[in-house]
Symmetry: C2
Subunit: 177 residues, 2 copies
């Protein structure tokens, strides 16, 4: 390998895709990261590093790219992954939270028995943009009494100031734009 | 631990949820598996065991629970994960394949540059039911010249005879019903 840092190597794999999913948006494509076994191993180490596994009961991953990062951190830290999904995808009794999008609303759900009061969790997704989805996911998790000890992203679009939506919770991102 | 096998331990975690996603279906809920760090570590070992990593270039995971299993195997085998997603989710140039559902059609996509002729891949999803989705995903992958050396599931609903849809490709499942 080279003497690049993990963050630099991951950044080097990310592709800009203009006008996706709609005109004017430059999408950060992380598929080359998921597609590299070496990159995923490094990513799991780097993204788990801020946390002491002894103080974490579970990770919480947001559908569906958060499942990729969440599983990688889960495997590294030896902790389970709780899924936050779009409405109607999770079986059994769920709790829901709706949030506003640019146009309309969306709803996130978590299984009612997945979290317990006092559980310490780390929230995980691939990318922090405006933070709307993560803010709603955090409120959902906190409504179950779980304590969020950190929020982790592979990529942060700093110019969108999504951190402001996340309040005082400690936020980590591997690659910033 | 006990002297249960990995398959027995995983089976013990799976929950039956009646009438999901619609009346008459008994859904196999694997959330307790994803939610256990120990189970995921064991699952990754057991599901990777049939394959020699030296003969595998990549794993291919099907949205979205296939991303959980696919990442776990990816981390264990040190191989990248190629995503097969529903229509419109993957950025850049994609290749598509539509397939028939009970009512209507669905379309799967893969990035055009994700696979190359001669690449040896393992297809991964959480559950084999009738095999329709996996059959379409396999055709998509093979249309790019990749060679499928095996197909792996956590759960197989044997009574639905989904293996028949997968042709001669070697198929592994950890837990069978």
């Amino acid at each position: 390998m080279t003497d690049l840092t993990t963050a630099e190597r991951i950044r080097g794999l990310i592709r800009d895709v203009p006008d996706f999913p709609k005109p004017g948006i430059v999408f950060k494509d992380l598929c080359p990261v998921w597609g590299s076994g070496d990159a995923m191993a490094e990513l799991a180490v780097a993204m788990s590093a801020p946390y002491d596994p002894a103080g974490v009961h579970a990770l919480v991953g947001i559908e569906s790219r958060g499942f990729l990062v969440g599983t990688a951190m889960s495997m590294k830290m030896g902790k389970g992954l709780v899924l936050v999904r779009k409405k109607g995808k999770l079986p059994g009794t769920v709790v829901s939270r709706s949030y506003d999008l640019e146009y309309g609303q969306d709803t996130l759900e978590v299984q009612a028995n997945a979290l317990r009061p006092g559980m310490k969790v780390v929230m995980v997704d691939d990318l922090l943009a405006t933070g709307g989805t993560m803010k709603a996911a955090m409120a959902l998790v906190e409504s179950q009494g779980a304590e969020i000890i950190g929020v982790s992203f592979v990529v942060e679009l700093g110019f969108l100031e999504g951190r402001k939506a996340l309040g005082d919770t400690t936020c980590y991102s591997l690659v910033r734009y």
